[in-house]
Symmetry: C2
Subunit: 323 residues, 2 copies
């Protein structure tokens, strides 16, 4: 199996490559990897010989051509501008998060007509396709009503993936990812940053700001679980799926208070003491527009698996990055 | 008020112009009309002096520029390839039904940035944005799951209208039209054609084929009601609408049997005798994917009005075209 990864140098791309390297014995034969990102992709040593780098932006037709020249059996499309940037830079958001995918699908359609090429196309969507008012637990048929340009772009891409699949140009699936937690790296200015900060920073002996009330509930997956969704999507049997190929992925629904309890069990009370509560009404306003819980029934029935609970999320982070 | 109509020579565009001409005393002051279509638009005599024709395709940037050079206060966007053609000609469907709208909105965004231009943008969407399985009556928050390229394109355009409105580039609204009945003209090969044929042809003394069972239920608006939605949308107060500017329009839910009862009342048993039932499993399959009934609660609350019942639909047709 030849796998192309667009956005391979990002958090999920890197975790995906690490899991492929670690679990090769359990996977279909990976004969080649095409790693595409704006920088050269760090690749595990066991995969280096089989990996071809395509360095460039997915908005560049030459980059898309260079990836498709390999005729990958599977295309994992992770390349995206994040929510905050898509909001502040309208042009860049639509160019990267929509126009590039549309052009990519059109190029595949050309190959489909010319030679019957029909790759599995695994698209990283997001729960940002949904907007309030929410039900307590969102069913799989909750209506699309994004509140951001990012969510709008993700929803439009899902619709294209469904239509191009129905027409036989790709074998597509869209995975709506929960908020990823614990993100490695440094705190940033994204409104969702605190969900990871309040775990990662105290475990590293550093202070973290909590800008919302502990009662806030949200929907999480570890980077490890997220990469696992894409591994599973490589080979899952989609022949029995209905026409809607967009799936809300399973996750863990937890309040901020439950996050902190899990931190206490892993890092002790001295870790919890490093959280400083400082309510930020702007951030509270933004995160109140995010969904708290999902059944994810269709995805679970297809074998997609979430983290066990929020403790498991913290432990996975600690075993990878912890002291 | 300067009004631009894209697709002004089509069925709804023509009915819109007829209603503007007939009801000017009840309307805001129409100072200018910009009529845009691939052919020269037939225009009522009372409006001719105020009407500027732009003849050309909405896929042509020069045509869009010629329309926007007038800086219309309202843009009514009816230009579209129909469902069947969007299915058989994939390229043309996306070019006309999506790419042209995206380019149009981008051009408006440029004017918005340069000079604060922000027109009301009234987009003709369709109940084809929904797909089965249906509930008995679809609520306004029924999920988007189109089963055709046409429905996909309409859903993507709705998402753009919402996002461009939220960002302040337009004051947008999408009107999801029911199936229009009774369509004037001749029977055609569209799967929905029979809904109009079985009324229009017998009233003209001609035979019509009924390819489905009388128990089939569907959702209708007359061309007159549809044009009325656009008249109402010119001035309706949208300031209290939530972020989702896509509205399922009110309509009449009727079975084919109820259609035939209405025909009998207007045309008598001799008209009904001209309907020849000849089940077509292909057409039955297609129309089973169409929604039967809607609450249209949000649209009704905003003052959009449907035909009274299916009798009213038949009578409107008869008074316009009947002998």
């Amino acid at each position: 199996m030849k796998i192309a990864i667009l956005g391979s140098a990002g958090m999920i791309g890197q975790e995906f490559l690490a899991q492929v390297s670690a679990a090769e014995a359990l996977m279909p034969d990976v004969t080649a990897l095409i790693a595409c990102d704006v920088v050269k992709t760090p690749t595990p040593a066991t995969l280096a010989e089989r990996t071809t780098d395509v360095v460039g932006n997915v908005t560049d037709a030459a980059v898309i051509k260079a990836v498709l020249d390999h005729r990958p059996d599977c295309i994992i499309h992770l390349a995206s501008v994040v929510s905050g940037e898509a909001e502040t830079d309208f042009d860049k958001g639509y160019q990267v998060n929509f126009d590039a995918t549309y052009a990519l699908l059109e190029t595949i359609r050309g190959l489909s007509a010319a030679e019957g090429y029909r790759p599995r196309f695994i698209f990283a969507s997001s729960i940002a396709v949904f907007g309030p008012p929410f039900t307590e637990v969102l069913e799989d048929n909750f209506h699309l009503a994004p509140r951001t340009s990012y969510g709008t772009q993700k929803a439009m891409q899902e619709l294209l993936v469904n239509d191009y699949t129905r027409r036989g140009f790709i074998d597509g699936i869209s995975l709506r990812l929960p908020t990823i937690c614990v993100r490695p790296g440094k705190p940033n200015l994204a409104a969702s940053s605190f969900f990871s900060n309040i775990i990662r920073e105290p475990l590293a002996g550093k202070e973290a700001i909590l800008p919302v009330d502990e009662s806030l509930r949200h929907w999480f997956a570890s980077p490890q679980a997220a990469a696992g969704f894409f591994i599973h999507a490589l080979t899952v049997d989609l022949s029995q799926m209905d026409h809607n190929r967009a799936l809300s992925m399973p996750g863990v629904s937890a309040t901020v208070g439950e996050q902190i309890e899990a931190l206490a069990q892993v890092g002790g009370s001295e870790a919890v003491a490093l959280i400083r509560k400082q309510i930020d009404p702007v951030i509270e306003g933004i995160v109140s527009g995010w969904a708290p819980n999902f059944t994810a029934a269709r995805a679970r029935a297809l074998g997609f698996e979430a983290d066990w609970d929020f403790m498991a999320i913290v432990e996975k982070h600690q075993s990878r990055f912890g002291g």
